[in-house]
Symmetry: C2
DNA sequence: TTGTTAATTGGGAATGAATATCATTTTTAC
DNA sequence: GTAAAAATGATATTCATTCCCAATTAACAA
Protein backbone atom coordinates (compact mmCIF):
# COMPACT_ATOMS: atom_id res chain seq x y z
CA UNK A 1 0.00 0.00 0.00
CA UNK A 2 1.14 3.51 -0.84
CA UNK A 3 1.32 4.88 2.65
CA UNK A 4 2.62 1.68 4.06
CA UNK A 5 5.58 1.88 1.74
CA UNK A 6 6.31 5.36 3.01
CA UNK A 7 6.31 4.41 6.62
CA UNK A 8 9.78 4.14 8.07
CA UNK A 9 11.30 6.56 5.62
CA UNK A 10 12.18 9.91 7.02
CA UNK A 11 10.90 13.08 5.45
CA UNK A 12 14.51 13.93 4.64
CA UNK A 13 14.93 10.66 2.73
CA UNK A 14 11.77 11.34 0.78
CA UNK A 15 12.98 14.80 -0.16
CA UNK A 16 16.28 13.41 -1.43
CA UNK A 17 14.53 10.71 -3.42
CA UNK A 18 12.41 13.33 -5.11
CA UNK A 19 15.51 15.27 -6.08
CA UNK A 20 15.46 18.11 -3.55
CA UNK A 21 18.74 19.52 -2.32
CA UNK A 22 19.00 19.03 1.43
CA UNK A 23 20.48 22.26 2.73
CA UNK A 24 21.07 23.07 6.38
CA UNK A 25 18.04 25.30 6.55
CA UNK A 26 15.83 22.75 4.92
CA UNK A 27 17.01 20.11 7.35
CA UNK A 28 15.95 22.34 10.19
CA UNK A 29 12.53 22.85 8.63
CA UNK A 30 12.09 19.17 7.92
CA UNK A 31 13.04 18.41 11.46
CA UNK A 32 10.38 20.74 12.79
CA UNK A 33 7.71 19.09 10.68
CA UNK A 34 8.73 15.58 11.59
CA UNK A 35 8.82 16.34 15.29
CA UNK A 36 5.30 17.69 15.37
CA UNK A 37 2.54 15.15 15.04
CA UNK A 38 -0.18 17.74 14.46
CA UNK A 39 -0.99 20.58 12.16
CA UNK A 40 1.43 23.44 11.75
CA UNK A 41 0.90 26.66 9.92
CA UNK A 42 3.75 28.53 8.28
CA UNK A 43 4.20 30.83 11.25
CA UNK A 44 4.49 27.84 13.58
CA UNK A 45 7.15 26.26 11.42
CA UNK A 46 9.02 29.54 11.23
CA UNK A 47 8.99 30.10 14.98
CA UNK A 48 10.15 26.61 15.79
CA UNK A 49 12.78 26.61 13.09
CA UNK A 50 14.20 29.84 14.46
CA UNK A 51 14.83 28.14 17.77
CA UNK A 52 17.22 25.79 16.03
CA UNK A 53 18.66 28.31 13.63
CA UNK A 54 17.96 31.93 14.43
CA UNK A 55 19.24 33.08 11.05
CA UNK A 56 16.46 31.37 9.17
CA UNK A 57 14.16 33.64 7.19
CA UNK A 58 10.42 33.45 6.80
CA UNK A 59 10.95 33.52 3.04
CA UNK A 60 12.98 30.34 3.24
CA UNK A 61 10.24 28.69 5.25
CA UNK A 62 7.66 29.64 2.68
CA UNK A 63 9.89 28.51 -0.16
CA UNK A 64 10.76 25.21 1.44
CA UNK A 65 7.18 24.37 2.33
CA UNK A 66 6.06 25.26 -1.17
CA UNK A 67 8.79 23.08 -2.60
CA UNK A 68 7.86 20.13 -0.44
CA UNK A 69 4.26 20.62 -1.38
CA UNK A 70 5.16 20.61 -5.06
CA UNK A 71 7.26 17.48 -4.59
CA UNK A 72 4.35 15.90 -2.74
CA UNK A 73 6.31 15.11 0.38
CA UNK A 74 4.04 17.08 2.68
CA UNK A 75 0.31 17.62 2.75
CA UNK A 76 -1.21 21.03 3.02
CA UNK A 77 -4.69 22.13 3.87
CA UNK A 78 -6.54 25.37 4.12
CA UNK A 79 -9.44 24.88 6.44
CA UNK A 80 -12.20 27.32 5.68
CA UNK A 81 -10.82 30.82 5.79
CA UNK A 82 -7.77 29.77 7.77
CA UNK A 83 -4.19 29.92 6.67
CA UNK A 84 -2.51 26.96 5.21
CA UNK A 85 -1.58 24.10 7.47
CA UNK A 86 1.00 21.47 6.80
CA UNK A 87 1.51 17.99 8.04
CA UNK A 88 3.90 15.20 7.35
CA UNK A 89 2.47 12.51 5.09
CA UNK A 90 4.31 9.90 7.09
CA UNK A 91 1.05 8.98 8.65
CA UNK A 92 -1.55 7.28 6.56
CA UNK A 93 -4.31 9.28 4.92
CA UNK A 94 -6.93 10.74 7.16
CA UNK A 95 -9.75 13.26 7.07
CA UNK A 96 -10.63 16.02 9.49
CA UNK A 97 -13.28 17.17 11.85
CA UNK A 98 -13.19 20.93 12.29
CA UNK A 99 -15.05 22.33 15.28
CA UNK A 100 -16.87 25.56 14.48
CA UNK A 101 -16.90 26.50 18.15
CA UNK A 102 -13.41 25.94 19.54
CA UNK A 103 -11.58 25.55 16.24
CA UNK A 104 -10.10 22.20 17.19
CA UNK A 105 -9.07 19.97 14.31
CA UNK A 106 -9.33 16.24 14.86
CA UNK A 107 -8.24 13.52 12.51
CA UNK A 108 -10.13 10.41 11.64
CA UNK A 109 -9.86 7.53 9.23
CA UNK A 110 -12.55 5.37 7.80
CA UNK A 111 -11.70 2.62 5.39
CA UNK A 112 -15.08 2.27 3.77
CA UNK A 113 -15.09 6.00 3.18
CA UNK A 114 -11.70 5.76 1.48
CA UNK A 115 -12.87 2.93 -0.72
CA UNK A 116 -15.99 4.79 -1.67
CA UNK A 117 -13.99 7.84 -2.71
CA UNK A 118 -11.94 5.70 -5.03
CA UNK A 119 -15.03 4.16 -6.55
CA UNK A 120 -16.77 7.47 -7.01
CA UNK A 121 -13.77 8.96 -8.79
CA UNK A 122 -13.46 5.94 -11.01
CA UNK A 123 -17.11 5.92 -11.93
CA UNK A 124 -16.89 9.57 -12.94
CA UNK A 125 -13.83 8.92 -15.07
CA UNK A 126 -11.72 11.16 -12.86
CA UNK A 127 -8.09 10.23 -12.22
CA UNK A 128 -7.75 10.83 -8.50
CA UNK A 129 -4.41 12.02 -7.17
CA UNK A 130 -5.48 13.22 -3.77
CA UNK A 131 -8.57 14.12 -1.89
CA UNK A 132 -9.69 15.76 1.27
CA UNK A 133 -12.76 15.64 3.35
CA UNK A 134 -13.56 18.05 6.13
CA UNK A 135 -16.54 17.74 8.38
CA UNK A 136 -17.55 20.94 10.15
CA UNK A 137 -19.70 21.18 13.22
CA UNK A 138 -19.34 20.75 16.96
CA UNK A 139 -16.84 18.48 18.62
CA UNK A 140 -18.09 16.33 21.47
CA UNK A 141 -16.87 18.82 24.10
CA UNK A 142 -18.55 21.82 22.50
CA UNK A 143 -21.82 20.06 21.72
CA UNK A 144 -22.08 19.12 25.41
CA UNK A 145 -21.46 22.59 26.78
CA UNK A 146 -23.80 24.24 24.30
CA UNK A 147 -26.78 22.35 25.66
CA UNK B 1 -35.29 16.72 3.51
CA UNK B 2 -33.25 19.81 4.24
CA UNK B 3 -32.39 20.74 0.71
CA UNK B 4 -35.69 19.64 -0.63
CA UNK B 5 -37.43 22.07 1.65
CA UNK B 6 -35.27 24.84 0.30
CA UNK B 7 -36.02 24.12 -3.29
CA UNK B 8 -38.50 26.53 -4.75
CA UNK B 9 -37.58 29.33 -2.41
CA UNK B 10 -35.57 32.08 -3.93
CA UNK B 11 -32.31 33.20 -2.43
CA UNK B 12 -33.98 36.54 -1.78
CA UNK B 13 -36.71 34.86 0.22
CA UNK B 14 -34.18 32.96 2.25
CA UNK B 15 -32.31 36.14 3.04
CA UNK B 16 -35.46 37.83 4.26
CA UNK B 17 -36.39 34.85 6.39
CA UNK B 18 -33.01 34.98 8.06
CA UNK B 19 -33.52 38.63 8.85
CA UNK B 20 -31.33 40.28 6.24
CA UNK B 21 -32.35 43.65 4.87
CA UNK B 22 -32.93 43.38 1.16
CA UNK B 23 -31.41 46.52 -0.30
CA UNK B 24 -31.19 47.36 -3.99
CA UNK B 25 -27.53 46.44 -4.16
CA UNK B 26 -28.06 43.17 -2.39
CA UNK B 27 -30.87 42.30 -4.77
CA UNK B 28 -28.48 42.80 -7.64
CA UNK B 29 -25.87 40.56 -5.99
CA UNK B 30 -28.43 37.90 -5.14
CA UNK B 31 -29.65 38.00 -8.68
CA UNK B 32 -26.14 37.39 -10.01
CA UNK B 33 -25.67 34.36 -7.77
CA UNK B 34 -29.04 32.86 -8.59
CA UNK B 35 -28.53 33.26 -12.31
CA UNK B 36 -25.23 31.42 -12.34
CA UNK B 37 -25.41 27.69 -11.85
CA UNK B 38 -21.68 27.32 -11.27
CA UNK B 39 -18.96 28.63 -9.02
CA UNK B 40 -18.33 32.33 -8.78
CA UNK B 41 -15.52 34.07 -7.03
CA UNK B 42 -15.90 37.51 -5.53
CA UNK B 43 -14.44 39.20 -8.58
CA UNK B 44 -16.92 37.40 -10.83
CA UNK B 45 -19.82 38.51 -8.72
CA UNK B 46 -18.51 42.07 -8.68
CA UNK B 47 -18.09 42.24 -12.45
CA UNK B 48 -21.52 40.84 -13.18
CA UNK B 49 -23.20 42.98 -10.56
CA UNK B 50 -21.64 46.08 -12.08
CA UNK B 51 -23.36 45.32 -15.35
CA UNK B 52 -26.70 45.71 -13.62
CA UNK B 53 -25.67 48.57 -11.36
CA UNK B 54 -22.46 50.31 -12.24
CA UNK B 55 -22.37 52.19 -8.94
CA UNK B 56 -21.87 49.03 -6.92
CA UNK B 57 -18.64 48.81 -4.95
CA UNK B 58 -16.38 45.83 -4.44
CA UNK B 59 -16.65 46.47 -0.72
CA UNK B 60 -20.39 45.95 -0.87
CA UNK B 61 -19.90 42.70 -2.74
CA UNK B 62 -17.50 41.45 -0.10
CA UNK B 63 -19.80 42.57 2.69
CA UNK B 64 -22.88 41.04 1.17
CA UNK B 65 -21.22 37.72 0.43
CA UNK B 66 -19.80 37.58 3.93
CA UNK B 67 -23.22 38.33 5.35
CA UNK B 68 -24.91 35.64 3.29
CA UNK B 69 -22.21 33.23 4.33
CA UNK B 70 -22.78 34.07 7.98
CA UNK B 71 -26.51 33.67 7.55
CA UNK B 72 -25.91 30.33 5.84
CA UNK B 73 -27.79 31.21 2.70
CA UNK B 74 -24.86 30.61 0.40
CA UNK B 75 -22.06 28.08 0.40
CA UNK B 76 -18.48 29.09 0.08
CA UNK B 77 -15.37 27.10 -0.69
CA UNK B 78 -11.71 27.78 -0.97
CA UNK B 79 -10.22 25.17 -3.22
CA UNK B 80 -6.56 24.60 -2.48
CA UNK B 81 -4.76 27.89 -2.74
CA UNK B 82 -7.54 29.50 -4.71
CA UNK B 83 -9.74 32.35 -3.69
CA UNK B 84 -13.09 31.82 -2.18
CA UNK B 85 -15.88 30.62 -4.39
CA UNK B 86 -19.56 30.95 -3.74
CA UNK B 87 -22.56 29.07 -4.89
CA UNK B 88 -26.24 29.13 -4.21
CA UNK B 89 -27.39 26.40 -1.84
CA UNK B 90 -30.58 26.03 -3.85
CA UNK B 91 -29.16 22.91 -5.31
CA UNK B 92 -28.78 19.87 -3.15
CA UNK B 93 -25.45 19.08 -1.54
CA UNK B 94 -22.66 17.99 -3.79
CA UNK B 95 -18.92 17.46 -3.72
CA UNK B 96 -16.24 18.55 -6.15
CA UNK B 97 -13.65 17.23 -8.52
CA UNK B 98 -10.84 19.73 -8.99
CA UNK B 99 -8.57 19.18 -11.98
CA UNK B 100 -4.92 19.87 -11.19
CA UNK B 101 -4.20 20.43 -14.87
CA UNK B 102 -6.88 22.74 -16.26
CA UNK B 103 -8.34 23.88 -12.94
CA UNK B 104 -11.86 22.87 -13.89
CA UNK B 105 -14.23 22.23 -11.01
CA UNK B 106 -16.93 19.64 -11.53
CA UNK B 107 -19.70 18.74 -9.16
CA UNK B 108 -20.86 15.30 -8.27
CA UNK B 109 -23.23 13.70 -5.83
CA UNK B 110 -23.16 10.25 -4.38
CA UNK B 111 -25.80 9.17 -1.95
CA UNK B 112 -23.90 6.36 -0.32
CA UNK B 113 -21.02 8.77 0.25
CA UNK B 114 -23.38 11.19 1.93
CA UNK B 115 -24.79 8.51 4.16
CA UNK B 116 -21.36 7.33 5.10
CA UNK B 117 -20.30 10.83 6.12
CA UNK B 118 -23.27 11.04 8.43
CA UNK B 119 -22.44 7.70 9.97
CA UNK B 120 -18.79 8.51 10.43
CA UNK B 121 -19.56 11.79 12.18
CA UNK B 122 -22.08 10.09 14.42
CA UNK B 123 -19.75 7.28 15.35
CA UNK B 124 -17.08 9.82 16.33
CA UNK B 125 -19.55 11.75 18.46
CA UNK B 126 -19.19 14.79 16.23
CA UNK B 127 -22.23 16.96 15.58
CA UNK B 128 -22.00 17.58 11.85
CA UNK B 129 -23.23 20.90 10.51
CA UNK B 130 -21.63 20.83 7.12
CA UNK B 131 -18.96 19.00 5.23
CA UNK B 132 -17.00 19.19 2.07
CA UNK B 133 -15.13 16.72 -0.01
CA UNK B 134 -12.78 17.64 -2.79
CA UNK B 135 -11.12 15.14 -5.03
CA UNK B 136 -8.02 16.41 -6.81
CA UNK B 137 -6.48 14.87 -9.89
CA UNK B 138 -7.03 14.86 -13.63
CA UNK B 139 -10.39 15.33 -15.28
CA UNK B 140 -11.24 12.97 -18.12
CA UNK B 141 -10.11 15.47 -20.76
CA UNK B 142 -6.73 16.11 -19.20
CA UNK B 143 -5.99 12.49 -18.39
CA UNK B 144 -6.55 11.66 -22.06
CA UNK B 145 -4.28 14.34 -23.48
CA UNK B 146 -1.50 13.61 -21.02
CA UNK B 147 -1.07 10.11 -22.38
C1' DT C 1 41.60 21.19 -2.17
C1' DT C 2 40.27 25.10 -5.74
C1' DG C 3 37.56 27.47 -9.01
C1' DT C 4 33.28 27.96 -11.56
C1' DT C 5 28.54 27.75 -11.95
C1' DA C 6 24.05 26.91 -10.30
C1' DA C 7 21.03 26.84 -6.47
C1' DT C 8 19.70 28.77 -2.10
C1' DT C 9 19.20 32.41 1.16
C1' DG C 10 17.94 36.86 3.90
C1' DG C 11 15.70 40.90 4.11
C1' DG C 12 12.82 43.95 2.54
C1' DA C 13 9.70 45.47 -1.08
C1' DA C 14 5.68 44.18 -3.70
C1' DT C 15 1.35 41.81 -4.33
C1' DG C 16 -3.30 40.90 -3.72
C1' DA C 17 -7.40 39.29 -1.41
C1' DA C 18 -10.05 40.63 2.31
C1' DT C 19 -11.38 43.88 5.89
C1' DA C 20 -11.69 48.39 8.29
C1' DT C 21 -12.67 53.29 8.33
C1' DC C 22 -15.55 57.10 7.78
C1' DA C 23 -18.27 60.46 5.52
C1' DT C 24 -22.42 60.11 2.85
C1' DT C 25 -26.62 57.89 1.42
C1' DT C 26 -30.42 54.78 1.96
C1' DT C 27 -33.74 52.08 4.94
C1' DT C 28 -36.50 51.44 8.65
C1' DA C 29 -39.58 52.60 12.29
C1' DC C 30 -42.45 55.91 13.97
C1' DG D 1 -42.23 63.54 6.92
C1' DT D 2 -38.23 62.82 10.51
C1' DA D 3 -34.84 60.71 13.37
C1' DA D 4 -32.08 56.69 14.27
C1' DA D 5 -30.01 52.71 12.38
C1' DA D 6 -28.10 50.29 8.72
C1' DA D 7 -25.81 50.15 4.35
C1' DT D 8 -22.75 52.02 0.94
C1' DG D 9 -18.53 53.92 -1.87
C1' DA D 10 -14.07 55.12 -1.92
C1' DT D 11 -10.03 54.47 -0.08
C1' DA D 12 -6.77 53.05 3.48
C1' DT D 13 -5.15 49.18 5.95
C1' DT D 14 -4.01 44.55 7.11
C1' DC D 15 -1.72 40.44 6.60
C1' DA D 16 -0.34 36.13 4.40
C1' DT D 17 2.31 35.11 0.64
C1' DT D 18 5.46 35.94 -3.15
C1' DC D 19 9.01 38.51 -5.62
C1' DC D 20 13.52 40.64 -6.13
C1' DC D 21 18.34 40.85 -5.86
C1' DA D 22 22.70 40.89 -3.73
C1' DA D 23 25.20 37.80 -0.81
C1' DT D 24 25.98 33.05 0.56
C1' DT D 25 26.28 28.22 -0.01
C1' DA D 26 26.17 23.80 -2.57
C1' DA D 27 27.76 20.85 -6.41
C1' DC D 28 31.25 19.08 -8.88
C1' DA D 29 34.89 18.89 -12.45
C1' DA D 30 39.70 19.54 -12.69
Amino acid sequence: MKNGARKGKSLAQLCVEKGMTLTKKRKVIINVIEKDPGHLNTEDVYNRAKMEDSSISIATVYRSLKLMRDYNVIDHHSFGQEHQHFESPMKSHHDHFVCNECGKITEFTDNSLEKLKINVARSHDFEMHSHRLEIYGLCSDCSKTSQ
